[in-house]
Subunit: 342 residues, 2 copies
């Protein structure tokens, strides 16, 4: 018998609204919310109710489609302004994940390509385009999982960071997709995940997804990563990505860089799993990736309590850049690749 | 004008009781508690109300003295049994920090050396011995600070981990002692400290101590250590120690090993500051250091809320071992040293 996992619809189109799992409630509760304005969707992206590079892209594309569907104007110029306004506005929600820009750019191009069609047609075709972005992501994750599962030895012990699972994509995931597929093939012994401070996506989301799927998962603090790699017989580390430069430098959740340096020190392979759309062909290397810095209170306030004194400095970058030299290979829907990407 | 810091009496003798700062209330409140039984002192050590290798040693020595002072027996054999019972009992509070064993061993040897003196005399001399351990630690920290401050360049940017400050010693600290002394000499530009999950000693204690002393301190999550070392112009990393083997392998708060690997990758000096009593001359290398593993709920429950799903594995080692090869030098009261130690 193969192991069969359970999956959720992280982002979906629900009768004119964008339906999301509100991930800030996990793991305590599985709560779906319907965003019926671009403002509420923007807030959901900014507040990490929906997060993960592919999921953000899908949510934004659906948000652009929602604007088109909701528009009541019969003036083409006004209609274009409304839709392009949504594109520009949603792009300001978060700066690092390239999928947000890639997906909204796809919607913008579709709008431009349909410039001569009746507005009613355009509305429907923009919705189809957004739904196709979602379906494409679903297929992409399965392909990444298939390619990646070939890298997994029997009885594998794997380490991951943050959440690159079904909750970060349409479903199934990138890094976790590989683990789910390897688990379906009976090859996974144990997965270690760092809790991923400050927002604990590893503790809250990844350990929840792995447990739902019946994968043996052990949670540690990020401080314990070195000890895990040294003592727990880890075969490889696999993480997702928010933006990959042409030379392979990779922005991903803060702490990924720590883990990559530690993996190299312990001579453990370090894989990045991501759709091709995460590669930003417009930038040569990681120095050009904008890194979001978030509010100090994400670190100092937790569970309604203040854990650090007032009046100190706090630095809260949400991502870091792992240099390509520390990444063994990239698992994409096009196969297992090495940079430079073209 | 030199910068003048503020210091606290972390552990002291208060009229027949052992007075401690209850560090679990920091940074919200500065609370002193008086332990008047070895059981309450054992609980205070186990629960990290008092923590830090030197402070634990001092507290345990005072606890042994308290047992002697409180004893009402006039039978020498019974008196010895009571005092030795306290020694053995307090040693079970935590396994990793060698100072607990070193300080209680010192008390035990003193008791044995006084075998022929009147019990009343012995009580007073055991109390003097414990107070001398405290005073010795105070002097030791100042010497470590003097030696260490020589390593600090003007305008220094320093990174530390956990708390090796006044709160981890009688006062002033080891790693933070160096920073305080360098600050008094006007040489410190900025200190970065990792919050130190799971128990946040960096956020709660170190940033509080540095702020009290007027040192510019910036708090980050442990996941951000790599980014700090890469981007913030750090001159060196300095940490404390819980036990050092003859070859220089060093047990310290979990996450120290991550930081040492990251420092090596970034070619940044990595110093360990500790009293000579932290060196365990009975063990050749770090493989022989017992590593305390603590309760899963320290990771999963925080601020009264559960952050991870039920039914997953959790691994919570409180310390890790940094191999000597990653440590640039050891700052002790005997000077700046390199292993092997004799």
């Amino acid at each position: 018998m193969t192991n069969q996992a359970v999956y959720y619809q992280t982002v979906s189109w629900n009768n004119g609204k964008v339906r999301l799992i509100d991930q800030t409630f996990l793991p305590a509760k599985l709560v779906y919310i319907d965003c019926d304005t671009v403002e509420s969707l923007w807030e959901a992206i900014r507040s990490l109710r929906v997060r993960g590079a592919p999921a953000i892209g899908i949510a934004a594309a659906l948000g652009v489609a929602m604007t088109a569907v909701q528009s009541v104007t019969t003036e083409r110029e006004a209609f274009h302004q409304e839709v392009l306004g949504a594109v520009e506005y949603l792009r300001t929600a978060r700066p690092t994940a390239v999928n947000l820009f890639w997906a909204t750019e796809k919607m913008k191009k579709k709008l431009q390509a349909l410039a001569k069609e009746p507005i009613g047609e355009v509305r429907q075709k923009l919705l189809q385009e957004a739904q196709e972005i979602l379906e494409e992501d679903r297929r992409t994750c399965r392909k990444i999982a298939e390619f990646g599962a070939r890298l997994v030895p029997p009885g594998a012990r794997i380490m991951t960071h943050c959440n690159a699972g079904g909750l970060a994509t349409a479903e199934y995931g990138t890094a976790l997709g590989i683990i789910f597929r390897a688990h379906e093939l009976g090859k996974v012994k144990e997965v270690f995940v760092g809790e991923t401070r400050p927002l604990l996506q590893g503790a809250r989301l990844t350990s929840w997804e792995l447990k739902q799927a019946g994968v043996a998962v052990t949670l540690v603090c990020d401080t314990m990563a070195g000890s895990v790699l040294k003592q727990k017989g880890i075969d490889f580390v696999v993480v997702g990505a928010d933006r990959i430069a042409v030379n392979g430098d990779t922005a991903n959740k803060i702490g990924t860089y720590n883990l990559a340096v530690l993996a190299q020190y312990h001579k453990i392979p370090f894989y990045v799993a991501a759709p091709w759309s995460t590669i930003d062909l417009s930038i040569a290397d990681g120095t050009q990736i904008p890194i979001e810095e978030r509010a100090p209170k994400e670190i100092t306030l937790w569970g309604g309590k203040q854990w650090a004194p007032d009046g100190i400095g706090v630095w809260n970058p949400a991502f870091d850049v792992t240099p390509a030299e520390l990444i063994t290979a990239f698992v994409t829907e096009k196969g297992i690749l090495r940079p430079p990407f073209k």
